[in-house]
Symmetry: C2
Subunit: 231 residues, 2 copies
DNA sequence: TAGATTGTTAATCGATTAACAATC
DNA sequence: TAGATTGTTAATCGATTAACAATC
């Protein structure tokens, strides 16, 4: 696997392939073509073949890809060949939902603990996962070699939480707080700002009709002016 | 605003600018340069100026952008000049968290109702927002002219839920279910698959050290071979 | 006027699409 | 062998970056 400077867009598609392969294997499908993967994922067959080819030749010409084999390969590429231990910082509504969601729906991830500074939450459990005091996070991270953290604290508390955990070994952060986080160079941040997702979607729902109206008018205007010229 | 075929990447950045402007206005800052916006957002100043220029000339050369004026313009562009009514389908952990989160943290969105088919949930409230039976969704959507829905049901139930709501006027969907949704042409879907976000992040946390190791070795190998050639 | 910063055009970079030879 | 589908190279498309004239 000569993985070198693979683009973010490619990496974001790999887990989609993984999820589809999981489903196929469960349905006992053992071969799949890029064309069929395209139908399941919404990405083009060419793109899928190209994505996979960055990492090696995993298919069989004329036949397609073996689902089990390809899944193992993709797992290795992403780094999911063993379950990844994570922590969730913030045990409010969102943190609780994320803890539950990942421990039940994400087969490749282990949520080892949640953290909060609210003493009313500390000591409780979320589906069996302990809520610890944020101050215990450094020790917990070090002792358990945690590299990945989910940030689900309010915007105002996010930077402080991130400083704390990056100082003790966290290298990758999934950030749900609506702020730009400053992190050391070797730490990766993915922002998953839910309000932004919803707001940018609204552009397409509300603005579209009006945009279409405008466009139609413009086209009409153009046509008219042309007609005018011809006449 | 001659908004025509603006790319998705541009549209995704607009809500970020909006959020920053909100914060600036709250701090009573009334002018901001693209350079300063860059520091707050992480995008380059050139990109910010270009993004805004697609829609008009909102700044003052030599001075920057007036925060209040720019905010109004961006709100209009996205379609957030009036609060947008939305519904959340699925009142489980994630649906509940999303309902709460958007009604408390998203100043431009109104969550009007949540829906579930679990009779134990129907009739209850999430921070004052009613949970209705999914079967009531069509009537509710029509009567209230709802255009935007958040899907937070299990993967297996998602397509059915989406069919139901698109049939009655929903034009934009924020989908948290890990499936590819089939929708009519004029309906927009944004996928916010939380497991995928986390998994693609892991590529950077776990694979990186090994990748760097490999890279170092390769560079070393190259150097050696060069030295060899020279000698 | 001098300094600063926008708005816009041109150049570069990167990602996607198309095409097809390789090969099962 | 014939048909199918991969893996790879070339062409296109789109987005970002750089540069700078316009102008407050």
């Amino acid at each position: 696997m000569p993985a070198r400077n693979i683009s973010k867009s490619v990496i974001k598609r790999l887990p989609v392939y993984l999820r589809i392969l999981d489903q196929l294997i469960q349905r006992r499908v053992d071969m799949i073509s890029s064309k069929e993967l395209s139908a399941e994922s919404g990405f083009t067959a060419e793109q899928i073949r190209k994505d996979l080819a960055y990492f090696g030749a995993f298919g069989t010409r004329g036949a397609g890809y073996n689902t089990v084999y390809l899944r193992e390969k993709i797992k290795k590429i992403i780094g999911l060949d063993k379950k990844i231990d994570t922590i969730v910082i913030g045990a409010g509504n969102l943190g609780t939902a994320l803890t539950r969601y990942n421990s039940s729906k994400n087969p490749y991830v282990n949520v080892t603990a949640a953290f909060d500074h609210d003493s009313r939450l500390v000591g409780k459990r979320i589906d069996g996962i302990e809520i610890l005091d944020v101050n215990e996070a450094p020790q917990f991270i070090t002792e358990n070699g945690i590299k990945v953290a989910v940030i689900a604290v309010p915007a105002a508390a996010a930077q402080e939480a991130v400083d704390l955990v990056t100082k003790h070994g966290i290298k990758a952060i999934l950030n749900f707080a609506p702020v730009k986080l400053n992190v050391p160079e070797d730490v990766h941040v993915h922002n998953a700002d839910l309000t932004i997702e919803l707001q940018s979607l609204i552009y397409y729902s509300s603005a579209e009709e009006e945009r279409n109206e405008r466009l139609k008018k413009e086209i009409k205007a153009k046509k008219n002016s042309k007609t005018f010229l011809i006449e």
